[in-house]
């Protein structure tokens, strides 16, 4: 197996009396697509939020355990904003910022201090190409991001997530509000990107995990039930009966 990039050591997350993650231990290897599947409220979104520490914004949250990236504990970094720039995050609902398409993608670099026009131009074009959106917007970079279609906005979100050159890309149910053609385009993008970026895909669509992921973790009710190579999880004999039932659609 490849070197571990992100490691969860016995992580428990709770909001008030609700437990969102219950003693989770997990290793996510480098330069692969790691899929996370499971029914609703199994803690998948919380898991992603721990990686880039946006869990901090949840009121009354308590986190125990350790989450490390390349061995470094994310809850002890000096600068949270720098940490977040190393991770790209894509949400279920496409969000175009109320700026031009160009400014949407240039936003993160500008906040990081990049102001050189040529550098920004190049970065914007690269990210939009990587997100399979360049051809559709190259003549309309001044268009307001919120006026794009849903599928285009989701790809814009991906371009934005790539604009700060992350080493990890997290996608949280990215295809639920997006048409099948766009979904296919994005899946192709992800397969292309995994050569240089570690990708974590949380999805409710079991088949999507089967298509995309190299390794899959199955979560249920805040616990990790099983982790393994995709073929193992989707085979006739996964380690846990629950995995078999979920993957076959018998529950969830």
């Amino acid at each position: 197996m490849e070197a571990a990039h992100i490691v969860f050591h016995n992580v428990t997350v709770s909001y008030g009396s609700t437990i969102a993650l219950d003693a989770i231990s997990l290793e996510i290897p480098k330069h692969q697509i790691f899929g996370i599947i499971g029914p609703a409220s199994s803690g998948k979104t919380t898991l992603l939020k721990c990686i880039n520490r946006t869990i901090d914004f949840v009121p009354n949250v308590r986190v125990t355990g350790q989450v490390t990236i390349d061995g470094e504990d994310v809850f002890r970094v000096k600068n949270v904003c720098d940490l977040r720039r190393r991770i790209g995050m894509v949400f279920p609902l496409p969000v175009g910022l109320p700026l031009s398409v160009y400014d949407n993608v240039a936003y993160a670099p500008r906040m990081a201090g990049v102001h050189d026009r040529d550098e920004l131009d190049a970065l914007v074009e690269t990210c939009l190409r990587q997100a399979a959106l360049w051809d559709e917007v190259k003549d309309r970079l001044r268009l307001l991001g919120t006026r794009l279609s849903g599928g285009q906005q989701q790809r814009l979100t991906i371009a934005r997530a790539l604009s700060h050159r992350p080493e990890i890309l997290c996608l949280n149910r990215f295809s639920i509000a997006v048409d099948p053609v766009t979904t296919m385009k994005i899946e192709d993008v992800l397969v292309e990107l995994k050569r240089s970026i570690t990708i974590v895909v949380v999805t409710n669509l079991v088949q999507q995990a089967h298509r995309l992921a190299d390794r899959v973790a199955f979560l249920n009710r805040s616990r990790v039930i099983e982790v393994g190579p995709t073929e193992a999880i989707f085979s006739e004999h996964p380690a846990s009966q629950m995995t078999f039932d979920y993957v076959r659609g018998h529950f969830g």
């Binding site: 600068n79 904003c81 720098d82 720039r85 190393r86 993160a108 670099p109 990081a112 201090g113 990049v114 550098e119 190049a122 970065l123 074009e125 690269t126 190409r129 700060h164 050159r165 992350p166 080493e167 240089s196």
Partner: protein, 308 residues
């Protein structure tokens, strides 16, 4: 030309962020100072009132006596019953006019009106709300005064009737806009269901919307009351200066607010009269606090969530 993808991961901040903590501290400071001022008023008014409130003021006389003679050299008396009656009577008359009228207008604008007329009417109501209270007092004193004398034959035209009408016109915008919000907050699903069953707009309004919006409408009426009770200049100019329990709608009265406005200038700072005026001010604050809290509770329930 594309920047290489295997540059060091992430772009770290190139310039130190010195300015940012300073800005955030300024914001925090403003937040806290605003909070400070907000509590300061409550605190201060009661502080000035405290010496007489817990001292020489006979609370029973205060609330039950009609004798308001603060400047008497023999024995100053601080009974506010007549003033309470003044506030209550003017407010009651104003509400009797403005609540039905305000609700009627709210229903009209919300359910029976075309969109363009609605926009125009809402702007007019907003401008109505903007008219300063001293102008309303002026209208009562100069315009309504002779009209009342002429139509009712009363000896003077500044009385409860005058003040009531003026206060009604002043409270209507609040009642109307909060009432309209309450009606708008009723889910469209209710409207569609009623219309699908064949209800006319009027039936929809009386049988579905008004019951569904009753909390918001009650809150609207309460806020109107709060507005009327707290009004100063308009009642000062339109209701007269007579400290007495009224016997009819044509009697002049004096309200709590007008009393403070009329007398504060002539008191000795720190003296008993001065402090009793602060007690009245505190009473007004408590009354408006109760009204607002009740209205808020009705609309939002005890847990702070909408109650419709």
């Amino acid at each position: 030309m594309t920047p290489s993808l295997d540059r060091r991961a992430g772009l770290s901040r190139r310039f130190s962020r010195l300015g940012e903590p300073a800005v955030e501290w300024a914001i925090r400071l403003c937040g806290w100072s605003a909070i400070f001022f907000v509590f300061a008023i409550f605190f201060f008014v009661f502080r000035e009132a405290a010496p007489v409130l817990f001292g020489e003021l006979d609370l029973e006389e205060f609330f039950t006596s009609v004798n308001w003679r603060p400047d008497s050299t023999i024995r100053p008396q601080f009974g506010i019953l007549a003033l309470l009656a003044g506030t209550a009577s003017v407010t009651a008359l104003a509400m009797a006019i403005s609540v039905p009228a305000g609700f009627g207008a709210a229903i009209f604008i919300s359910e029976f009106c075309g969109p363009k007329a609605r926009e125009a009417l809402k702007i007019v109501i907003e401008l109505l709300a903007a008219i300063p209270s001293v102008v309303w007092g002026f209208i009562g004193y100069m315009v309504l005064n002779p009209v009342i004398i002429w139509t009712t034959g009363a000896p003077i035209g500044i009385n409860i009737l005058n003040g009531g009408i003026i206060l009604a016109l002043m409270s209507v915008p609040v009642i109307m806009s909060v009432g309209e919000d309450a009606l708008k907050a009723v889910p469209d699903a209710y409207r569609e269901a009623a219309l699908a069953l064949g209800a006319s707009r009027w039936q929809l309004t009386t049988r579905v919307l008004l019951p569904a919006a009753k909390n918001g409408l009650l809150a609207a009426a309460l806020l109107g009351v709060g507005r009327a009770v707290g009004e100063t200049m308009a009642v000062l100019m339109a209701t007269g200066h007579s400290v007495q329990i009224p016997h009819g709608v044509l009697d002049p009265v004096r309200t709590l607010t007008a009393t403070i406005a009329a007398e504060l200038g002539e008191t000795v700072v720190g003296g008993t009269h001065y402090r009793v005026l602060f007690v009245i001010g505190g009473l007004l604050m408590v009354m408006s606090l109760l009204v607002n809290l009740t209205a808020d509770l009705i609309v939002n329930g005890v847990r702070g969530r909408p109650n419709t």
